[in-house]
Symmetry: C4
Subunit: 204 residues, 4 copies
Amino acid sequence: VTTGRVEAFSDGVFAVAVTLLIFNVQVPHIADGELASALLALWPAYASYVVSFLTIGIMWVNHHELFRLITRVDRALLFINLLLLMVVAFLPFPTAVLGEYIRGGPSSRTAAVLYSGTLELIGLAFGALWIYAARHRDLLIADLDPAYARATVPTFTVGSIAYLLAIAFAFVSAAITLAICALVAIYYIFNRLPEVAGKAENRA
Amino acid sequence: VTTGRVEAFSDGVFAVAVTLLIFNVQVPHIADGELASALLALWPAYASYVVSFLTIGIMWVNHHELFRLITRVDRALLFINLLLLMVVAFLPFPTAVLGEYIRGGPSSRTAAVLYSGTLELIGLAFGALWIYAARHRDLLIADLDPAYARATVPTFTVGSIAYLLAIAFAFVSAAITLAICALVAIYYIFNRLPEVAGKAENRA
Amino acid sequence: VTTGRVEAFSDGVFAVAVTLLIFNVQVPHIADGELASALLALWPAYASYVVSFLTIGIMWVNHHELFRLITRVDRALLFINLLLLMVVAFLPFPTAVLGEYIRGGPSSRTAAVLYSGTLELIGLAFGALWIYAARHRDLLIADLDPAYARATVPTFTVGSIAYLLAIAFAFVSAAITLAICALVAIYYIFNRLPEVAGKAENRA
Amino acid sequence: VTTGRVEAFSDGVFAVAVTLLIFNVQVPHIADGELASALLALWPAYASYVVSFLTIGIMWVNHHELFRLITRVDRALLFINLLLLMVVAFLPFPTAVLGEYIRGGPSSRTAAVLYSGTLELIGLAFGALWIYAARHRDLLIADLDPAYARATVPTFTVGSIAYLLAIAFAFVSAAITLAICALVAIYYIFNRLPEVAGKAENRA
């Protein structure tokens, strides 16, 4: 299987998943005159929308950069990618749960663990995708330095470690958990695969 | 009609259908402190999400492999493909029904028959697509051995027979029905069109 | 503007609109043991799903065939296409209304008028798209016989006239209205732009 | 990063966001015989659907024209584009709020401010995208006159100023706010980037 179709498959899922996130923000049904405060009270839904949107959005870009280094897809890689997409497409659910239960109490802990745990799974699946590809040189572009490919692995693991921290902080405050997840997204916008990107740029 | 547009049409439907599945998992509305158990109680919704996601995901890949062997699309093939997409896009509904009614009672039987019956229809439509194409050599790529094409037909029928089994087991247990459907999806990940794939790889 | 982007825009809207139709089929919430009859009672939702899916699906194919004859898009054509997509993306709403109110009474008339009226608008917008293009030779491919292009206009108008009939029959029976709309969809599967298609095939 | 992937990312979000707008129009649940008036009473939902659809639709076309002038995407541009898509994908929510609360009272003011404020943010993000690109010649196509690029900036700012006016009029009438937003959409259909478009046409 060439990578073209796998990328098209992935593109579709990423694009739809990211756009469906807005359905987690429900129109409030209230008596006249209280709409402004009802809209402001939805801030957790807005905040989790922003964090999930940025996380999936930047992962899409990084997913594409990875696949510029991959020329061939075997069955195992196909399956890992399918698992990655399955957790990405699952994210709207934890996002909705966090948006509804972030405010105090034991439910906020549960919601924050579910949310950061899903992001941890996404991070692990993404890392597994690249680690598998980096260990199978026949799947990579011919002129890619294998040491180079392995050197990029830490970049992926940063996210997975940060999400573990986010899970731990869920027991302190769901808002802190969300803030850590936001920082990871911003980190990947400005530190996405610097070496891999550089390598790919040389080829272009 | 060239196949490019039919593939784009199919890609869109597959990608959106697979990503919409998450809407079958509804955010529970509960009093504080009971969120963890409410989330755990949603396991049938998660399980049917996973099975439907993998089934559509792997079918998308196989659909693409088929179309690498097809060069031309006539009206009948177009219509069969449209029927296939119509049942694929219908799957979120049986998935939601199974997720809600899988636990015991006569309703679980009904839900499991609806779910596995829809998958049976998807399998039959997919098989019909390939059988029709394999019988019309003018639709296939020039250098494809016709005996070769016919030899792949059993690969498609395995799924249809397994789904019949799943329908029968619906009267025993809806969970067993779902498990059989999961096994079919995993089977197609690791046994997808070996010969067709091999043939296509030789060409690339 | 080249047509590539307009087609991508249109493809996205067609694919998402067709797949969203399934959300009109709501999971019934019933006591145990009555699920089978509750699912059977949803037949109007299934029927309107099938008709709308086939209608949009085949229109997508015809839309693509039209754009194989168009090389350039001016502002007016862009605007007509946007209006066409706007009514296509609107169709899930009348489909849901018809699925809920098709059974008897004055509401079934209203629902059937809304549904067939929306299809009439889609048909008119599609016809306007082609009539506009056929009258502006600088937008069409160089070797297209203008008499040829004009000769295809009747093919488009058949649908618009049939939908008018469907609107009229809404006052007799909403089911007849839906049946007429189904026949139009099937007609366009087997009679889609024969001459235009033939012409395009000669070029390929 | 080449622009191809950023455009595919953007295309997906634009197409899904525009098609999801119809979910803001809810099927009315009423007693028999009142469906016609219930459907007519939904006019604010239809009106906000039309304005949002045209606004996103035409912005998609303009987004594509911009990217025909951009050859390279750096991290900052990637981030600005992600913010633009985030507000575009957010629009279905204000559209739904306006559709429900447009009729009189203080809530209509709040809904109209939210709606026009979101469009203002979309306009600002779109303007920021182009201003950033126009100031970084290494991101633009080689033969683009920089004075030319800068001359197009006013075209973008017209929308942002008109949306400020729409926000101000929200305190008079939500319907006037919606009408101003509709006029901006129509303005951009017939006045989209005349010079940039001309320039791009010369290249094609």
